[in-house]
């Protein structure tokens, strides 16, 4: 292995370790987003985002009667993290949801996205839909 490659590998390992062990309080949502991407930001700050959404809904008296959770949105085509979504439903079902799979289709100028709560984050392997869970909100990230 070339010295440069070895250095890169070590740097990558350090970044990954930091991503795994940095406490949430030590890093802001923006920093986490820029440094480690959507997947990490949602994993660490999901509860905070969920709470923000529930407050937004409660201010209008539109809070959901049940359990909510924020999970990443994964593109069905590439498996990449492309955003986050709040899912809502009975606690036992919401707990099974690991992500929302997003598929897209176009008909003329109309672009439609289907959003499916799934129990497996590997959407390239197949879609394991969690029935009985709905989508309550979308979260867009500006990277």
């Amino acid at each position: 292995m070339q010295p440069k490659s070895a250095l890169l590998a070590v740097a990558l390992v350090v970044v990954l370790l930091l991503a795994s062990y940095t406490p949430a309080s030590a890093i802001s949502l923006e920093d986490a987003l820029l440094a480690f991407g959507i997947g990490y930001a949602v994993r660490v700050f999901g509860d905070q985002i969920n709470s923000g959404l529930n407050t937004l809904l409660a201010q209008q008296g539109l809070q959901f009667e049940g359990t909510t959770k924020v999970v990443p949105i994964l593109s069905v085509g590439s498996g990449a993290y492309i955003g986050a979504a709040q899912v809502a439903g009975p606690p036992s079902l919401v707990n099974q949801v690991r992500a929302v799979a997003q598929g897209q289709t176009s008909i003329g100028d109309l672009r439609a996205s289907y959003l499916i709560p799934v129990s497996d984050i590997n959407v390239l392997r197949g879609i394991n839909r969690v029935d009985g869970v709905g989508l309550s909100a979308l979260v867009d990230f500006r990277l």
Binding site: G52, L56, E65, R111, S136
Partner: protein, 231 residues
């Protein structure tokens, strides 16, 4: 004529007694794991068990109210017990009269939704009544109110309306039970911001396109897709 009068009275009385009866629902309070629990009892069955207070009533009082409501209905049959909406909540009804409200605390404790809890209580009541009266329980999947155990589902495309501007900013596909989806007229989008890089968009199925008035969520429905039109 006078001679047959007592006989006529007896016949009328026996006929009435045979045709009209009320089941003897009772309630009791038990202590389970140090917590006071109210139970609705019919024979040796406990169709409803109440652990939490609501509406200023403790578990025992709630169970007593439910038992009294059930005892006041004559000739109660399993098929008379149904599930329906009472205000914002799912509830168990007997011939359309409120018996028990399925509250979120009991739903969470039973790891189900309030609708699922109402169905569970309905089925337990039907079973208990069936054992007392000998009448068969209605088949799973349909109640006498025509409400399916697993309601028929439907999907619909409705406009997304921004609560801030009132503009139509896209379209959403909503799904849920056919009955509830039919009530959805739009999806209200509420927007918020978390820091400088996170934009929140809550999507709420509502029953009107007039978002200036009170927004009312249509329960039992949710968004399953969004559509944009390239302008």
């Amino acid at each position: 004529m006078k001679r047959y009068m007592p006989l006529a009275v007896v016949i009328v009385f026996v006929t009435l007694a045979a045709g009209v009866y009320a089941l003897d629902f009772t309630s009791r309070v038990r202590t389970v794991d140090g917590i006071s629990v109210g139970e609705v009892v019919l024979g040796d069955q406990v169709p409803i068990r109440i652990r939490y207070s609501a509406g200023g009533l403790g578990p025992g009082e709630r169970a007593e109210v439910m038992a009294n409501r059930l005892s006041q209905i004559d000739n109660l049959q399993p098929a008379d017990i149904t599930v329906g909406r009472v205000g914002p909540y799912w509830a168990v009804l007997a011939r359309g009269q409120l018996i028990a409200t399925a509250d979120p605390m009991h739903a969470d404790a039973n790891r189900t939704s309030t609708y699922g809890l109402a169905i569970q209580w309905r089925n337990q009541l039907r079973t208990a009544i069936s054992q007392q009266t000998g009448s068969p329980t209605p088949p799973l999947g349909a109640g006498s109110d025509g409400q399916a155990l697993y309601p028929r589902t439907a999907q619909k495309v409705v406009p997304i309306i921004s609560v801030g501007s009132g503009l139509r900013i896209g379209a959403a596909i909503v799904a849920g039970s056919s009955q509830q989806v039919a009530r959805v007229n739009a999806v209200a989008q509420l927007e918020g911001q978390l820091g400088s890089r996170v934009r929140l968009r809550a999507l709420v199925p509502i029953d009107t396109e007039n978002i200036v008035g009170n927004l009312r969520r249509v329960p039992g429905t949710s968004v399953i897709g969004v559509a944009d039109i390239d302008l």
